[in-house]
Symmetry: C2
Subunit: 296 residues, 2 copies
DNA sequence: ATACTAGACTCAGTTTTTCTAGGCCTAGAA
DNA sequence: TTCTAGGCCTAGAAAAACTGAGTCTAGTAT
């Protein structure tokens, strides 16, 4: 008997968050990715929560888990509560520093599309402070503290705040290299640069030119598209270019396109803003991006 | 440069909770009481949160703190979010075990009023599992995981789920002791038991009998009213009885009231239920309590 | 004036919580 | 059959949270 008896405590907030993520995403592994922890951590949180409430939240299948009726019955409440919490946190951050904007983008987009625009943005919106975070997959804007996300999406989406037309593939290289190219066959003697994230780009472009010819090319691949572009600028070979990312260099002449044919891809550069990001600054920033995007 | 760059993280949930409590209650000390930690812990959480968002949440006054406009601007959002979270947690617990009811009450009420009713309740609601937590002050039912709270309130409140009439004071003692009492003056030769939480009870009762007579009594006091009642049953002296708590013993004759005069107090035994506790079980439990309360 | 008090701050050290690593297990796919 | 995806478990490590004790400030009481 302790002097101050331990009164029943509410559940740990982190366990609730782990459950919510696992239930919403349908698995511990996905939840662990969203929360940046290992799946074991999620498992422990959920187990604790199950002990706390005295009921099973998930059925454990041989592979994966499935929400029990109990879990299903309260999931919407938790989703709503954590949405509200995330929204409040976001609002707090914005109210504290209205001129701070945080953007997340695919690494290649951050470096090749957004990066060059930043000086012009700073010029038009003096006092603004933009932080850029590169990541591989678009985050859940309702949860992560970003104002804007810029990624490639394979679908048209009217709800996007800005969406460019379908991206196009076109080989690009330095002018010197271009002089040595006249036919498709010439490509086979050259380094054909590509990005590790889009390994099918060359094949896709070649197919769009002549579906039956069995052309194939080879060359180094890079985990960062920006690196590949740099190598192309340095004359390392022919890069399969994503027009939205390399057009700026075509316009300046630093890179040229030895073949005029372009292959439409499914990808559209797409910008979303967080539901909280309704401020005037964000609106003006979007306007600027829109304008620059047109000139690209 | 780490391989997986640390992406900006959302604020720690516990820091948000600390801020919410401090802001809602208007001070770190109060918040620390609600969350069962020391004030220093709250201070650290708030400080962290201020660093995270880059703005001051509280103005530090020489004594106490005051919300800044920034803090004020987001407080309602956080209150709503944590309310939703607590409601969801409560619902989870109830859905997991619908027959479990948790009650919080003043120690004296738990022991003397509720305790004797529990066997009868179990009889009428077989299968129900009631846990009782004694505490000194009524908790915030919107936050703490209780279904019912039973405390004395000094005001009439129509929103209460059950409220008894104003409590009355009346001296009580064992029949043996009563035989030795015939006038007020006899009290001065006897041990007059009282509760440490209500040290003014005897004075209040004496005043209601004869406001001018300077009667005063003395005797041991107890930190647990239940203990004082037991002592009275054992013939240790005359206890200043709260009718709602000792009437059961008057009815059985184990205790008697040597003086017929009763003094009305401001206190009413008051029962609230949590907003989440809308189940049939709780309703039936309240009905039973109501019925028993009438017969007391 | 002088002490006292309430409330908050800080910092070091400790306790508690949370996370990871790595091995195990199961069933469906190759 | 082997491989793989997804979870489970446990020990130990890492991080977060909390405490305790000493400071500080300005009202309040003496």
């Amino acid at each position: 008997m302790s002097v101050t008896p331990p009164r029943p405590k509410g559940p740990p907030l982190n366990a609730l968050r782990a459950f919510e993520a696992a239930a919403r995403l349908g698995g511990f592994r996905l939840a662990s990715a969203e929360l940046n922890v290992t799946p074991g951590a999620i498992a422990q949180h959920v187990k604790f929560l199950e002990a706390w409430c005295g009921g099973l939240l998930f059925e454990r299948l041989p592979v994966g888990v499935q929400l029990t009726p109990l879990g299903t019955s309260i999931l919407p409440d938790f989703v709503a509560a954590f949405d509200a919490l995330a929204a409040a946190s976001h609002k707090l951050r914005m109210n504290a520093a209205p001129n701070r904007v945080s953007v997340t983008a695919l690494p290649s987009i951050a470096q090749l599309w957004l990066g060059p625009l930043l000086p012009k943005i700073r010029e038009e919106l003096p006092g603004i402070s933009i932080s850029v975070t590169a990541m591989e997959a678009p985050p859940n804007l309702a949860r992560e503290p970003f104002d804007l996300s810029i990624f490639f999406s394979s679908e048209a989406d009217k709800s996007a705040d800005l969406q460019l037309p379908q991206d196009e593939l076109v080989p690009v290289c330095s002018p010197e290299i271009a002089r040595r190219i006249s036919t498709l066959a010439d490509l086979q003697d050259l380094s054909c640069l590509s990005d590790q994230m889009w390994p099918g780009d060359w094949t896709e472009w070649l197919k769009s030119i002549d579906p039956r010819a069995g052309y194939s090319v080879s060359g180094p691949s890079y985990s960062l598209y920006g690196l590949a572009v740099n190598e192309a600028l340095n004359g390392a070979g022919v890069l399969i270019g994503h027009l939205s990312l390399v057009n700026r260099y075509l316009l300046t002449g630093e890179l040229v396109a030895p073949f005029p044919q372009r292959a439409k891809t499914a990808h559209r550069l797409t910008i979303y803003r967080s539901a909280q990001a309704r401020s005037k600054i964000i609106r003006r920033l979007l306007d600027i991006l829109k304008r620059f995007a047109k000139n690209l």
